[in-house]
Every structure is written in structure tokens, then in C-alpha cells.
């Protein structure tokens, strides 16, 4: 009976001991006569269960959570032949969960982009094919550029980086702008606090990103792609470069994509630790080797982007989703979701949360449903008081707003944003004054320094909030803070300064008692 044992190799799993588990397994297996293959898979994103070890036998797959290296002998003895079935033997393990269908955290999700995540070795191209990878690209190769763009438009796919701009319109603009050279730039500078979806995808299913980029290249007639990766993701860097090499050797990338005569190449470029490089124009400056300051728009990057050429700048998840859209067809992708938010939303549960991890669900479920069905309460066990959705520049939502449906427009109406899907939870001990101050301090720390509201305003914002905290002329300072928020919101050059008022204002509006 041959077995496969999966130990994730994703950063979070490794941080929680996956490498130690794998090393121990490998060492002990070497001394045993067992037909066991160790596979380092990606992660399913249920981080609260990591290291989540899986055992596969004859089409059946069993999950054992929170493994530690000390648990390895137990596991191995369960794997060794015995009178009971494997399932029976495994049941005795402390973290035994049964099959994935039995894990509600996973079974309640609707995985599209992350459907493959954690199932196989992320660099196993054959496995990728087996799991429906490449079918989107194969279909795209049969379509004219306009037809590919039409698929994206019909899918209703919107930018998953946070701005939610319709990908179809962006691609159409690049396709319509004539140039000798166009580019596809993948924004992998995932900097929002509490987010990790991009990293998980790049580490657990990198071929999907490459496939999406190639499809984008075919759609807009671009032959070169760049992945702008934050330097804090060393493991993703290794995985992407390995995936690119494998894809080159397999003829997925290069001058003759799958024998079509079409060409596309991808290079990874590392950032240097600036949050602002997640802003697309700043990213382009950095990619060009310049100091990353925000560019004024127009021109849009779609018209004059990287090195002045028409450029698609999309987030990792957007490009990855393009492969699903092409594989299943735009209208089919658009069947999921709510109102103008089509497809799936990738939520990352973080902060003071019991069951932290990645949750992919169709748009339209409420925030409360998400919290109830997946989060499992706070890690501290204290009552949940505030939820910040959409990263450090997202609004803090009080319980009264938790019934807001998870869709872009509904959130905007509530004075909030979904952003990149980060959901950070805070329990009853949170001091919302400090959280408001943190928003300004974050802006001050990460401002590129180009426009005045953000460069000076963020520093003044910290100072004003400090005066409020010190109870100095509170009423006047609150007026001043509101004025400053207006200045930042309406006067800033980019979304960074423009969104900084969100957490501040939501703290003031919904948690006013903390400021009294």
C-alpha cells in the first residue's frame, strides 16, 4: 500500500514548525520500511490548523492538524500496517480531522482561485495540469486578443488589490493603445496588515499566476511581464523563480508558448520595503529603478505605464483569477457574487482571531456570517469589538455594521472598503484613540512624501490626535482633525493619503466614547 504524506511548505506552516515535522518524518522514514512518499505541498490557508499534515491513500485523503515534530512517531506508527483501516488508525491522533469535507472551515468555502492551493507540490507542473491548470491558457491561445478581453469583461472581474477597478476595462485600454512594447506588471507588493492571500497563492500555486499573466499578455499583446514582489516574501521569491524556470523549460513561457508561436516572458523584481510601492504608479517608478514616488494620473498606466508604455498593472489575485475566467468562461465566473461584485472574495482573517486564515467565498455574504462561520471568535476569548476590513487604511466597523454584505458597493456605502480582503479583529480591550493615531502614524511612516497633505498632514494628524488623547482643547482639535481628514481625502495625490481618514473617521464616528 503506497502512501503520500503531505507537509506544507508555505511560510506560515513553516513558521509553525512544518519544516521540523518534515525533517523528522524524513529522518524516521529512512530507517523504516514503509512505502511512504513525502510531498511538500502548499497550504490550504487554514492557518490555525497548521502544520496541517495530510495522508493520502487510494484516493482518500485525511487531515491531521497542528502537527509537531514530537507527534511524528505517533503518526508513523499509525501509518504502519495494522489490523484496522488507515482511517481508523489515524483517528487516534490528537489533531485528526478526517477528510477535507469534514472540516467546515474548508467545506463552507467556495474556492475558485485557491481551489488547488495546498493539494499538491506547488512546483509539480503535471499535478497543476491534472488539477485543471493550463486549460485557461489553452483556451486563450485559441482566441483573438479582443475575445480574451471580452471574456474578462463578461466575468465582471475587478481588481483584487483593493481598488476594484474593472479588469476588462483596463485590459481593453491597453489593447486599444497601440505600441511596439506593452507590459504586464503583477503587483505582488502585498503590504496591507493582516493580508497574505497573494503570498499564499505565489507559494502554493505559482503556475496559476504565471498562467494568468500569459493570458493577460495574449489579451493585450504584451510580451513581457514583471512580478513586483515585496522583499519580505523570500519564500515566494524562490517559488516564483523556480516556477518560471519550470514554465520556461516546459514551453509555457518563452518565444513559443505551447507551440503557438506567441511569446511571453516573466521576471521577478524585488521591492525594497516601501508600502507605497503597492500603489501602482509608485510601483512602476520603482520597477524603472527610480525613487518610488507616486505619479499623477493621467496618463493612466494602461496608456503610459512602465517605461512609458501601455501596461496592465494587476494584483496577484486578479491575474490568477483570469486563468479561472478563461478556463470556465467569463459568464460562468460571473454567476458567482453579488450586484457588481462578481466572483469570489478572498478574505484573510487576522488580528485577534481564533481561526485565522484564508477564506474564499462568493461576494455577497455578510461580514457577520463570515465572522460567525469562520473566525471562531477572538483569540483572547474576549468579546469582539471592532473589525478593520481592507487593510490599515480600511474603516473600523462596529457590530452595528457587521451585517453589511461583503461587496464593494455595499461597503463603500457603509463608509468602508473591502480592499484586498484583510479582516483584522479587535477585542473589547482595544483603544480606538490609539488605533486612529496608528492610522496617521502609518501614513507618516509610509508616505512617499510627494504630495503635501500626506507628507505633512499625516505628521500633523499624529500630533493632533496626541493632543486629543492628552485632552488638550479636544473640541477644537476634533474639528481640526476632521478638517485634516478632508484635506487628506480630497487633496492627496494617491489613495494612500486619500484613504488614511477612513480608520480615523470610523474610529471617531463609531467609537466616539473612546475620545471623550
Amino acid at each position: 500500500m503506497s502512501l503520500r504524506v503531505f507537509v506544507p511548505q508555505d511560510t506560515t506552516a513553516i513558521a509553525l514548525g512544518a519544516d521540523r515535522v518534515a525533517a523528522e518524518l524524513r529522518a524516521q522514514l529512512a530507517t523504516m520500511d514503509l512505502d511512504v512518499t513525502l510531498v511538500r505541498n502548499g497550504s490550504r490557508g487554514a492557518f490555525w490548523l497548521e502544520p496541517l499534515v495530510e495522508i493520502e491513500c487510494e484516493q482518500q485523503r485525511f487531515l491531521v492538524s497542528n502537527m509537531e515534530s514530537d507527534d511524528v512517531p505517533l503518526l508513523l506508527s499509525a501509518l504502519a500496517n495494522g489490523p484496522d483501516s488507515l482511517e481508523q488508525r489515524l483517528k487516534g491522533l490528537p489533531g485528526y480531522l478526517g477528510s477535507a469535507e469534514h472540516v467546515e472551515y474548508l467545506s463552507r468555502q467556495h474556492r475558485v482561485t485557491f481551489a488547488r492551493s495546498g493539494l499538491e507540490d506547488p512546483l509539480d507542473l503535471d499535478a497543476y495540469r491534472r488539477l485543471q491548470g493550463i486549460s485557461g491558457l489553452e483556451r486563450a491561445l485559441t482566441l483573438a486578443p479582443q475575445a480574451i478581453v471580452d471574456e474578462i469583461t463578461q466575468s465582471g472581474l475587478r481588481g483584487r488589490g483593493g481598488a476594484a477597478f474593472p479588469a476588462g476595462i483596463k485590459w481593453q485600454t491597453v489593447l486599444d493603445t497601440k505600441a511596439d512594447q506593452k507590459y504586464i506588471v503583477c503587483n505582488a507588493d502585498e503590504g496591507d496588515s493582516g493580508t497574505f492571500a497573494d503570498r499564499l497563492l505565489m507559494e502554493s500555486d505559482p503556475f496559476q499566476l504565471l498562467e494568468g499573466m500569459i493570458i493577460a499578455g495574449l489579451a493585450v499583446e504584451a510580451s513581457q511581464g514583471y512580478i513586483y514582489l515585496r522583499s519580505e516574501y523570500p519564500r515566494a521569491h524562490v517559488m516564483l523563480n523556480a516556477a518560471i524556470e519550470i514554465a520556461m523549460n516546459a514551453g509555457l513561457l518563452g518565444t513559443d508558448i505551447l507551440g503557438s508561436g506567441r511569446s511571453f516572458s516573466v521576471e521577478v523584481r524585488l521591492g525594497a520595503g516601501a508600502y507605497i510601492c503597492g500603489e501602482e504608479t509608485s510601483l512602476l517608478e520603482s520597477l524603472e529603478g527610480k525613487r518610488p514616488v507616486v505619479r499623477a494620473k493621467p496618463p493612466l498606466p494602461a496608456v503610459a505605464g512602465l517605461f512609458g508604455q501601455p501596461t496592465v498593472v494587476n494584483n496577484v489575485l486578479t491575474l490568477a483569477a483570469a486563468s479561472s475566467v478563461l478556463a470556465q468562461g467569463g459568464p460562468s465566473y460571473a454567476e458567482l457574487g453579488n450586484e457588481r461584485s462578481r466572483g469570489t472574495l478572498t478574505v484573510q482573517l487576522a488580528g485577534n482571531v481564533k481561526c485565522g486564515g484564508l477564506v474564499e467565498i462568493p461576494f455577497g455574504r455578510s461580514l457577520r456570517e463570515l465572522l460567525d462561520e469562520f473566525a471562531g471568535g477572538t483569540a483572547s476569548g474576549r468579546p469582539l469589538r471592532a473589525v478593520q476590513v481592507g487593510g490599515p487604511l480600511g474603516a473600523y466597523l462596529p457590530e452595528s455594521l457587521w451585517d453589511t454584505p461583503l461587496d464593494y458597493e455595499a461597503f463603500a456605502q457603509a463608509g468602508a472598503m473591502l480592499g484586498h480582503g484583510g479582516v483584522v479583529m479587535f477585542d473589547s480591550t482595544v483603544d480606538m484613540q490609539s488605533q486612529a493615531r496608528f492610522a496617521m502614524a502609518f501614513c507618516a511612516a509610509e508616505s512617499c512624501g510627494k504630495c503635501t497633505p500626506c507628507r505633512i498632514g499625516s505628521v500633523r494628524g499624529v500630533e493632533v490626535i496626541d493632543r486629543i488623547i492628552a485632552r488638550e482643547s479636544v473640541a477644537e482639535n476634533v474639528i481640526l482633525l476632521n478638517d485634516l481628514c478632508d484635506t487628506l481625502e480630497y487633496g492627496s495625490l494617491c489613495a494612500m493619503g486619500g484613504l488614511t481618514p477612513n480608520p480615523v473617521r470610523s474610529a471617531l464616528a463609531h467609537f466616539g466614547e473612546d475620545f471623550e
Partner: protein, 949 residues
């Protein structure tokens, strides 16, 4: 044009040239502007000023300050008017309550990090931040001033001309962008991010230690007192200004002289100046202090011999003395024993009068000008091939060029404002071929790499040009249609027979030129086939024994490839001095009357004879070298030398000194006691360009007004001095203003017939030819046909110079210019520019240095067949092995003691660029330097005694 000082109009963003027009509504008014124009500029053009701080129309829109926000119907938010472009039918409101509140809030943030010292601030009254705070009605800063700030940052006073005070900086990046977009040096950056963002020269260096070239574009662009001229800090802001033209190089930049009383406190390049479009260099912008330098001589002086002390006398006495001595010489030694040299630094009106004085007063044609020693081959070569002794284009033409050849010129040093224009075009993607023995800055400079650098051996330009032409013909890349239509068939077929001979092939000439055949072929292909090809050349082409041949070689190449007669192409000499073109145009050569008409032509002569009421000598007179030779042999005895320092600038100094010493009467008219004046008997104190009215003509044939900014220190403008001398000699020069002289020039010169001071006042400047055929002047020459009719291909046989290396003189010396100094340095050495270049150095390649055991700063004896001098060593890979290089900005350097009598076969332009030398370590100055030092001391003493009298 005197006017009260007023900061210039600023559209906020650059003017757009599109012919598609867009109509929109701004504050209820309908405005029509070219497509691509910003809302800010559209508003400005309709008389509505949108407040702004980071925007200025010399720079691309940046969108950082956020005070230019407006509201647009149907659009959410508050778009920045600088970065938002006009669209048909937009309804824009620049003043609403919401906008006013936001702008005020932004300004409040600015001021919360700005010192409140307006009353004691150097730019109080001339500060955009101050003005904008006023416009926006900022009344309080609710943040207080106790917060984080930059008020304690230290000033950088390292640059002698301006101070950087970061405590006043609003981080608008205008300085950084000006350094990049306008100047192209990329010396400035913003360091840090967020609130820590700070303007930084280089890597947090002092300005003087950084790559900054002190062009001042940053100072000009600064909207606050962060970057301020030291003159403004010391003297305050100006009260009126006068538009005039720079007196340095041949670029001919237009300036607004900003004046307080009669003192210039700032020179601001004029945005409307067509030659410079608002840009300037370290010389033009900052180095004007020489005009008020203590060395200025302001009273006439005379002496019987050069060993006597000077006597300060009245103008009348000086002029009578001079006239008497000239008359006496002519009566003793004949009519032809006297002559004059006119100055390319003086105005057209002034040089015109000098040649008129010689022809009409002296009765001979012994008039020559310093163009003899720089661009006389240009005049000859271009006249012979194309029919006119002038460059073919406007500077702006380079913006249309696709491939640019820079040959024997170093624009970033010697013509810096054109250099910046050129660099901008190169950054836009034009191709570049540099032909120069030295690796000049353009070969590798930020964001620019020459496609080809042909490091030609000094003295082999003609062989190289022939090889380029050979390849173009050999590979069939020539423009057969253009040649058939525009050029003389016979001349072309003769030339074709000549150039097709394989001895001109790059393979055959590679050894002589030092340029490998493959590279040369590639360069030739690039020039011939990359679209618009433009050639810019300088003294590295002309100052050779075959200077005229090389100029014709360039003209041949341009005709061969059809690169003449439109924008973006052409043959463009980069003139050395401010008015070289004009002094040549004004008939300053012994064989030509104004407008390049030969003195032997009876019809032309008759015209002038009728106007001047004299009889003219039909025989051409002496050229400068002939004058000196004749002085040494005793037949030439009297010289009137206007604003020219032949003792320092002309080759073979010892020969010049011998000639000057043998004159019976040397009259020097200058603003300083220059090297030549130390041999003079009469000194007539002239006026600087700030003290006179007149015109200069730059290398694009642009006639620009020179206007009197301050009173003449000596009481006479130079034209008045020449007129007074003429009158003392019995001529009747009764001009009351230079405009009358220009009227005479226009009357007598067909290419100038439409030029007048009224026209110059109306148009700002005019490019000649300007006449009934071209009433607005001529931007591009030879558009439909060449001035001479059909283009004339001239065979250009390469004849190696006699000046060759051998065992005794194994190195070739070539000479050039440096950014901060100008010509003989008489002006720039008397300014703070010497902080950059206080002495001339000898550049030598590391290999040649190592062979001789030479280290940086060692004293080197440099010996040629003509003489020897001593300079300090600068080891540099800019020169190639076998070549050494120096400048001649300092008299004690004696660079021209080494240069020889060799000269261009056609024009006698000296072969400054090729001198065979040996270089060796020494420990004391040369004998000539010791003599020069002693002589200089003696003459300074004689001057001091005159002053004591």
C-alpha cells in the same frame, strides 16, 4: 526695454503645440486651447490664475503641492488642474468655497513647517509661497509651531553664487526637476521619504562637492527662499529689469537683468528668449561680477613707450594722441602700415564701425577679427559649398533631429545651454555620434550614452569625414533624389569620382584616424539612414591646417544625405564667442565688406563709397597673422585692437609678443589691462555688455538686442570710442545712437535690410536673412534652394599636417574649453567661477603618465617646436594614449607658447588643436613663465603709478 521688476508670467505647465483645439469653460468663460494643455494653463491663458506651488511652465506637471485643485462639473473630487488635461466641453470652476477651504488647509500644512520670518527673508516680496498664502487667505495655523519640523536644518553655503536653506524648503521638487528636465545633469534628488523628504545634492553632499554644474536652474525654479542667489541675499530683490543678451558664448541667451538702482542683482534667463528658452549656465547667470571688478580701468591712459608709466588723461587728449601717432606712422611708413583688430565680444554696431574706420579712415583694408582664429574656416567652407557663411538652423531644430553628430565640440562645457537642449533630445531617444579625440561628457552622461564615439586622432578629421562619405556612397545610402534636385551635377560627379577611391575607405584610413573600420561604417550608416541627421561642430573642426577642408567635408556629408533645408537637420557651427557670427557678418575680414561681399567687387565697393563718401582700396588687407609677421619685419607699425587679447589667445605667444613689441603705436580698447594692453601705448577704457546698447548675433544667425543696464563706467560705450577716434582722424562719424549704425548696416547689407531696432523691440530677436523676401527673418536656411543656387560638392583631399609626432615630440597636444571659464578668462577669472577652475591643467592618459612617472598634480614641462611651458598634471582617461589636453583660460599657463604658427590653408585659422609635444616632470616654471611673471609685475607697477598720478 526698461520695466519695473515683475516676476515673469507663468502658465504653470509647458505650452503645448498641438493644432487640434479644445474648447471648455473656465469660471464661466469659454476658453479654446490646444489639445493636451492642462486646465491650469488653459486658465492662465484666459487670464485666470489658479494658485500653485509645484507647477511652473518650464517643467512638466508634477501634481504634488495640491493647491491647484479645481472642481469640474460631473466629476467627483477635486482634480489638480496641473495634471488634468482639458477636454471638450468641460465646465471648470477654479474658485468655489470647497476649493478655497481645501487650498487653505493645504497651505496651513505648509506654513506649519515654515519659518515665520517673512520680513527678514531674502525673498520677501518675491516668494510664491508668500504670495500664495496671501491669495488663499490663510489667517492662522491651527497646528501651532511646536510640532515636528525642519526649521533647524543647516544652510549649505558651499556654492559661491547661491545658498541652499533647507529650513525654507516646501519639497515641491521644482529644483530637482529643473536639474533633470531643463539642465539634464541629475545632480539633485529627494532624499528620504514622507516627512523626512529633503532636497539633496548628490548623495547628501554639499552642492559644491556634488555633480552640480551651478547652472542655477534650480535657483530659478525655487518658489521660496530655499535656493537663493547670494546677490539677492546680500542686496535684496530688484526694483526694475532690462532685457538684454548674454555676452559669453555663441549660444546668445536672452536675459532679464534684474537691477537695483544701477546695480545688477540677478541675471534671469528669459523664457521668451528663443536661443535659451529660460535656461542659462554658470557663466551667463552668475558670472557678471567682472563688470564691477576693481580691475576695471575707467579712464583713458597714454604713454610713449611700454617702459613708461601710464598717464591718465582726458578722452580728448587720449584720442588726439592716438590719432596723431597713427597719422604720423602712416606718413612715415605708408597707408598700409596701420590696421585694426575688432572683437567678437563687442556689438555688431561696434565692430561695424571699426571696419568702417579702417576702410574709410585708415584708407586700407587691414581689418581682421578674432574669428580669424576660430571660425574663419566655417565662413569659407560653408560659403563655398552652400553659399552662405553661417549655420543652417535654429537651436530649436535639434528637437526634431533623429541622429546627431557632435564633432570637435564639447557643448556641455562650451555651449552649455545648447548642451542641455541637445541632452533633452538625446534623452528622448535621438542617436548620438561623437567625433572627438577626447571622451567628452556627452559620450557618457546621465541617461545618455553615445551610440558611437569615434576617437579620431588629432589632425585627421578630413580623413575621417572622407571615410564616412566613402561608406555612404559605397553602400548606396546617399540621397540620390536630393542630390539630383538640389546639387550641382558636375561638382557632384567629380566629387563622386574622388570619394569613391578605395584609399578613402574606412579600412584604408583606420590606421591614420585611429578609428576602426567597423565602428566607422556603423556610424556612417546610422547618420545616413536614421531620419533627420544634424551635425554640430566646433573649433575641433576648424582649428586645423585643414579646417576649411573639414567644414566642406561636413557640408558634403549633409548634402550627400539630404540633411539640409528643413527642421532637424543641417550643418551647425557652435560659435565660440557671443558675437563671432556678427563680427564676421559685419565685414570684419580684410577681403569682405559687410554681408560677405568681396572688396574687389566694384559694384559693392561703389555702394559703400557712395554711402561713406570715400574711395575704397580694392585690395584685401592684412590678416591677423600677416599683421604680426609684418610687424616683426617692420612694415606694420600701428594697431588699433578692440576688445581682443591677442597676446593670450593667439598661437605662438612669443611671436605675438615680438610683434607687439615692435609696434610704434598699439591702441588697446578694453575693460581690463589685458595681456595685450601691457604692450600698448594708448589704452581706451571700454564698456562691458551691461553698459551699452547694440546687438549680438549668435550661431543661429539670431540678432538679439543688447541693452544698457547700467551707466558706462568709462563714460563711453565702445561705439562712441571708435567714432571719436575716427573723428579725431578726420572722418565724420556723427552717430548719436547705435540704432543709427544698424540703420546704416541695414541700408548697405541685403541680408539685413529688414533689420531695425524697432523690429527687434517688436520681435525680441530676428534671424538673418531678414529682408523683403523674409520680413520675419529666416529660421532655416537653404529650404528650397541653396543660397548659391546648386549645392557644391568640393573634393576634400586629406593632407596630413606637418605637425606630427616623432621621437622628440611623441605626444599630440590638443586644447579646449571648460564650463566655468570663458576664452582668455579676462571676465570669468574676475568672478567666483575660479572656485571651479583656478588653473589650467594638462590632462594626460594614465599610460603616458606611468611611462613618465607622472602623478596627479605633478609639475609638467610641455615642450613643442614653438616653445615650452609648465602646467600641473591631471591624469585622465578622457584623453586617449598619445594625446594630451589643456585649456588656455589663464595667461600664466602659456598654453599658446606651445602652439605653433601652422594654420588653415584657406583662412590662416591657427592649428590650435594639434601640437606635437613632449611632457616631462619639472620642478620650476618655464623660462617664458618666469619672464611673463616679471613683465606682468612691471606692467602692473606702471599701471599703479598711473593711478597714483
Amino acid at each position: 526695454m526698461l520695466k519695473f521688476y515683475e516676476p515673469g508670467q507663468d502658465g504653470g505647465t509647458p505650452k503645448i503645440a498641438s493644432t487640434t483645439l479644445v474648447t471648455l469653460t473656465i469660471d464661466g468663460r469659454s476658453v479654446t486651447v490646444p489639445e493636451g494643455t492642462s486646465i491650469m494653463r488653459a486658465a492662465a491663458e484666459s487670464g485666470v490664475k489658479v494658485p500653485r506651488l509645484c507647477a511652473t511652465d518650464s517643467l512638466n506637471a508634477f501634481g504634488s503641492c495640491r493647491v491647484c485643485m479645481v472642481e469640474i462639473s460631473g466629476r467627483k473630487g477635486f482634480p489638480a488642474s496641473c495634471t488634468t488635461l482639458v477636454e471638450e466641453g468641460l465646465d471648470v470652476r477654479t474658485q468655489t468655497d470647497a476649493v478655497a477651504r481645501l487650498r487653505r488647509n493645504v497651505m496651513e500644512l505648509y506654513i506649519s513647517d515654515h519659518p515665520l520670518d517673512c520680513l527678514t527673508c531674502p525673498t520677501n516680496g518675491d516668494c510664491e509661497l508668500q504670495d500664495t498664502a496671501g491669495e488663499l487667505g490663510l489667517r492662522e495655523v491651527r497646528y501651532g509651531f511646536a510640532g515636528e519640523n525642519h526649521l533647524e536644518l543647516d544652510k549649505d553655503t558651499s556654492n559661491p553664487y547661491f545658498t541652499f536653506d533647507p529650513s525654507k524648503c516646501i519639497v515641491c521638487s521644482r529644483c530637482v526637476r529643473a536639474c533633470e528636465e531643463v539642465q539634464g545633469t541629475f545632480a539633485l534628488t529627494i532624499q528620504g521619504r514622507g516627512f523626512d523628504s529633503k532636497v539633496s545634492a548628490g548623495q547628501a553632499e554639499a552642492f559644491m562637492e556634488s555633480e552640480c554644474v551651478s547652472c542655477g536652474a534650480c535657483v530659478d525654479a525655487c518658489p521660496t527662499a530655499t535656493l537663493t542667489e547670494n546677490t539677492i541675499i546680500e542686496r535684496g530683490i530688484p526694483e526694475h529689469s532690462v532685457v538684454t543678451t548674454c555676452a559669453y558664448c555663441g549660444v546668445g541667451c536672452a536675459f532679464r537683468a534684474d537691477v537695483k538702482g544701477s546695480e545688477v542683482v540677478r541675471m534671469t534667463p528669459l523664457k521668451d528668449g528663443k536661443a535659451n528658452e529660460g535656461h542659462a549656465c554658470v557663466k551667463g547667470r552668475f558670472a557678471f561680477g567682472y563688470a564691477t571688478h576693481k580691475d576695471r580701468i575707467t579712464e583713458p591712459m597714454i604713454r610713449d613707450t611700454i617702459d613708461d608709466p601710464w598717464r591718465t588723461v582726458s578722452w580728448e587728449e587720449a584720442l588726439e594722441y592716438a590719432a596723431a601717432r597713427l597719422k604720423s606712422i602712416q606718413s612715415n611708413h605708408g597707408r598700409n602700415s596701420v590696421g585694426a583688430i575688432s572683437s567678437s565680444r563687442c556689438t555688431n554696431e561696434e565692430v561695424y564701425l571699426v571696419q568702417k574706420l579702417v576702410r574709410a579712415g585708415f584708407g586700407n583694408n587691414n581689418i581682421d577679427t578674432c574669428a580669424r582664429v576660430c571660425h574663419s574656416p566655417t565662413g569659407y567652407g560653408l560659403k563655398t559649398t552652400l553659399g552662405e557663411s553661417a549655420g543652417t538652423q535654429s537651436y530649436a531644430s535639434v528637437a526634431q533631429a533623429d541622429v546627431i553628430i557632435v564633432m570637435g565640440a564639447n557643448p556641455t562645457e562650451a555651449h552649455p545651454v545648447f548642451g542641455s537642449r541637445l541632452k533633452r533630445r538625446l534623452r528622448e531617444g535621438a542617436k548620438l555620434i561623437v567625433i572627438d579625440p577626447r571622451t567628452i561628457e556627452l559620450v557618457h552622461t546621465p541617461h545618455i550614452n553615445a551610440d558611437y564615439h569615434l576617437a579620431v586622432n588629432p589632425g585627421t578629421n578630413v580623413a575621417l569625414l572622407n571615410a564616412l562619405a566613402y561608406v555612404i556612397v559605397d553602400e548606396g545610402l546617399h540621397d540620390k533624389h536630393f542630390i539630383a534636385q538640389r546639387c550641382d551635377d558636375d561638382a557632384f560627379s567629380q566629387w563622386l569620382d574622388f570619394i569613391s577611391q578605395s584609399r578613402h575607405s574606412p579600412e584604408a584610413t583606420a590606421e591614420v584616424t585611429g578609428v576602426d573600420a567597423k565602428t566607422l561604417r556603423s556610424a556612417a550608416r546610422l547618420y545616413a539612414s536614421a531620419g533627420n541627421g544634424a551635425v554640430y561642430y566646433g573649433l575641433g573642426v576648424t582649428e586645423h591646417s585643414q579646417g576649411s577642408t573639414a567644414v566642406m567635408g561636413i557640408a558634403n556629408l549633409a548634402m550627400l544625405t539630404g540633411n539640409l533645408g528643413r527642421e532637424g537637420v543641417g550643418v551647425n557651427p557652435l560659435r565660440g564667442q557671443n558675437n563671432v557670427q556678427g563680427s564676421c557678418d559685419m565685414g570684419s575680414f580684410p577681403h569682405e565688406l559687410p554681408g560677405y561681399r568681396h572688396i574687389s567687387d566694384p559694384q559693392v565697393r561703389a555702394l559703400f563709397e557712395a554711402d561713406w563718401q570715400v574711395t575704397l582700396d580694392p585690395e584685401p588687407g592684412l590678416r591677423i597673422p600677416n599683421m604680426f609677421d609684418s610687424a616683426v619685419d617692420g612694415s606694420f607699425k600701428g594697431l588699433y585692437c578692440q576688445g581682443e587679447d591677442v597676446a593670450q589667445s593667439d598661437p605662438n605667444t612669443q611671436h605675438i609678443e615680438a610683434a607687439l613689441s615692435s609696434l610704434d603705436c598699439l591702441i588697446v580698447q578694453d575693460i581690463f589691462l589685458n595681456e595685450t594692453a601691457k604692450y600698448a601705448h594708448v589704452f581706451l577704457p571700454g564698456s562691458s555688455f551691461l553698459e551699452k546698447n547694440g546687438t549680438f548675433i549668435n550661431a543661429e544667425r539670431r540678432i538679439s538686442p543688447v541693452r544698457k543696464v547700467m551707466p558706462s563706467r568709462s563714460g563711453k560705450e565702445d561705439w562712441e570710442i571708435t567714432a571719436a577716434l575716427a573723428n579725431a582722424l578726420g572722418c565724420e562719424f556723427d552717430y548719436t545712437h547705435p540704432r543709427e549704425i544698424m540703420a546704416e548696416i541695414a541700408r548697405l547689407t541685403p541680408t539685413f535690410s529688414g533689420v531695425s531696432y524697432d523690429a527687434l523691440d517688436a520681435h525680441g530677436s530676428i534671424q538673418w536673412p531678414c529682408n523683403d523676401d523674409a520680413p520675419a527673418g529666416t529660421q532655416t536656411m537653404h529650404v528650397d534652394e541653396f543660397v548659391r543656387g546648386k549645392g557644391n560638392f568640393v573634393p576634400t583631399e586629406f593632407i596630413p599636417t606637418d605637425e606630427r609626432v616623432n621621437r622628440r615630440f611623441p605626444l599630440l597636444l590638443t586644447t579646449g574649453r571648460i564650463l566655468t571659464q570663458y576664452n582668455v578668462g579676462a571676465q570669468t577669472r574676475r568672478t567666483e567661477n575660479s572656485a571651479w577652475h583656478e588653473e589650467d591643467l594638462l590632462e594626460i592618459h594614465p599610460v603616458d603618465a606611468e611611462d613618465r612617472g607622472i602623478k596627479d598634480d605633478d609639475w609638467l614641462g610641455i615642450t613643442s617646436r614653438a616653445g615650452n611651458t609648465v602646467l600641473r598634471a591631471r591624469i585622465s582617461e578622457r584623453v586617449k594614449p598619445g594625446v594630451v589636453y589643456t585649456t588656455f583660460h589663464h595667461p600664466e599657463s602659456g598654453a599658446n607658447v606651445i602652439t605653433t604658427d601652422n594654420s588653415d590653408w584657406a583662412t590662416n585659422c591657427p592649428e590650435y588643436k594639434v601640437t606635437a609635444v613632449q611632457v616631462a616632470l619639472v620642478n620650476e616654471p618655464s623660462a617664458w613663465q618666469a619672464r611673463q611673471k616679471k613683465f606682468n609685475h612691471r606692467q602692473q607697477d606702471l599701471l599703479a603709478q598711473a593711478i597714483v598720478d
